[in-house]
């Protein structure tokens, strides 16, 4: 166990020191952009919208904005770090060492989770300046945050494994992740959508994460919380199996 813990902790420490060393690129930008979201959508526009499902608009969107930051940063950390390791070939340092692939995966995913949680805390602190955030259910809140950051760290890993050039690691966040986040109920309740678009929204995984987190914070969700957790578990297990299989086959890292 000791022999597995040391390589695991080495990867995690390396990952955390990587993103903290470049905090101007990794920690500061989400703090600034989320502040702008709170000022513009919450304060300026939100005051004219009124309430949503019984909550002031800024209180309603705050959990979604926090979740958006966690999703983006968990994903970005793993995709950029693992692809960078492939590009500079220092992934070979791990491949030549007697580290099982699940430890490599766990190390990178943990790095993504740590960054996601750290950014989540930073954005929550920012949110406290604009909203009166309460935690309705702490266990659900923590569980959703952890599972969401694991899911998107794994997704980032899969993207990095297949990426052959830097364009490949920006295409998915720009053309898939961002639309899914914006259409995932961060800024609105899906009850506002026509029936057809409500059904389409059910295929968006981020809808379950945002609503489960909103339930943890506000006690309010468009989705049944058990259903949301089942979906989160399915996503986690599926992505875990896919990424481990890809690593075991050496896709993108071995010739």
């Amino acid at each position: 166990m000791q022999s597995l813990f040391i390589p695991f902790s080495t990867i995690v420490i390396k990952e955390v020191s990587r993103f903290t060393r470049i905090w101007m690129q990794t920690i500061l930008p989400p703090a600034i952009s989320m502040t702008l979201y709170f000022v513009i959508f919450g304060g300026l526009i939100g005051s004219r919208i009124g309430t949503m499902n019984g909550f002031s608009y800024i209180d309603y969107i705050a959990p979604g904005i926090i979740m958006m930051a966690i999703i983006n940063n968990s994903y970005a950390n793993v995709v950029s770090s693992f692809y960078g390791a492939k590009f500079q070939r220092h992934i070979e340092e791990m491949l030549v060492a007697p580290i099982p692939n699940f430890i490599i995966l766990a190390g990178f995913v943990s790095g993504g989770v740590v960054r996601g949680l750290l950014i989540g805390v930073v954005v929550t602190i920012v949110a406290l300046f604009f909203t009166n955030l309460q935690v309705h259910n702490l266990i659900i809140t923590i569980a959703v945050v952890l599972m969401t950051s694991i899911v998107f760290s794994l997704a980032g890993m899969i993207n990095a494994i297949f990426a052959n050039k830097f364009d490949d690691i920006s295409v998915i966040p720009a053309f898939v992740l961002t639309p899914l986040i914006y259409l995932g109920g961060v800024f609105y309740s899906i009850d506002l959508l026509p029936d057809f678009w409500q059904k389409v929204s059910a295929f968006n995984p981020i809808l379950y994460m945002v609503n489960a987190f909103r339930y943890g914070m506000l006690g309010e969700s468009d989705i049944d919380i058990t259903h949301a957790f089942i979906m989160l578990t399915i996503f986690t297990i599926t992505l875990l199996i896919i990424s481990l299989q890809l690593l075991n086959k050496g896709v993108g890292i071995k010739s």
């Binding site: 080495t10 070939r89 030549v96």
Partner: protein, 306 residues
Amino acid sequence: MPALEINNLKKLYPNNFEALKGINLNVNQGDFFALLGPNGAGKSTTIGIICGLVNKTSGTIKVFGHDIDTENTAAKACIGIVPQEINFSQFESCLSIVTNQGGYYGITRQIAFERAEKYLKNLGLWEKRNECSRNLSGGMKRRLMIARALIHEPKMLILDEPTAGVDVELRRSMWDFLTNLNQQGITIVLTTHYLEEAESLCKNIAIINQGQIIEDTSMKQLLAKSGKETFFFDLVDPIITLPDLNCLSSQLIDPTTIEVEILGRENISQVFDVLSNNNINVSSMRNKSNRLEELFLDLLNNNKLN
């Protein structure tokens, strides 16, 4: 038990390029072994498979008796690799690159730090330990990769062209360092394009060409096969015509330089005799190329003809 045992190793790349056509190779414990071959011969593919960076198509490899397929962890723990290309993070310090590598091998932070200090000092990099690795010179980067490869104190060190692009002085100091490691009992497998390097360092040698081992013998035996040697004689005064050198193959390169090819049992002193009898004074004599180099080219040419 050999340090390295390769049996019928084959590698077929997805584009149908057959990089290895069933090679067999044994490296004994404590050996200083040269694996030579032209570019694209299969050297790096072989090393990549041994180290787990390339998937093999078929065949078996054992490292100190550990099969890389069934005892992967034990096999990898025996190997230290210094690759051809720089493959560390350009944004990390030298010390963290080496200590992190220790961590990947399950070595505690404290022991990794102690070993890093030892090897960085031995390789003249301790003063640069906190320097970002991208600021190092080419030679320093190569030495950093050697320190990194030694952090888990492997039984076998594999170096893929470690002195490529390194200046003469540094190359000599790296030779001394590697010789010292070998004397401590570490098996060393070396690929290089500097045949002088292989000749002066290695005890045994294999030559690979087009994915096949075309020679696998001791350096002494290989050099004994050397059929000819070519010399240049630099003359004190220019001459217009070349005197008959008793049937030795020779030619006048320019008025002050004669090229002479000496075959296996022929005697070089007769060249001096003839030149002396013709009142031609020699100021210096030198080899056209390294003996191993000539032999290497001959073997490759024969392989091509076959």
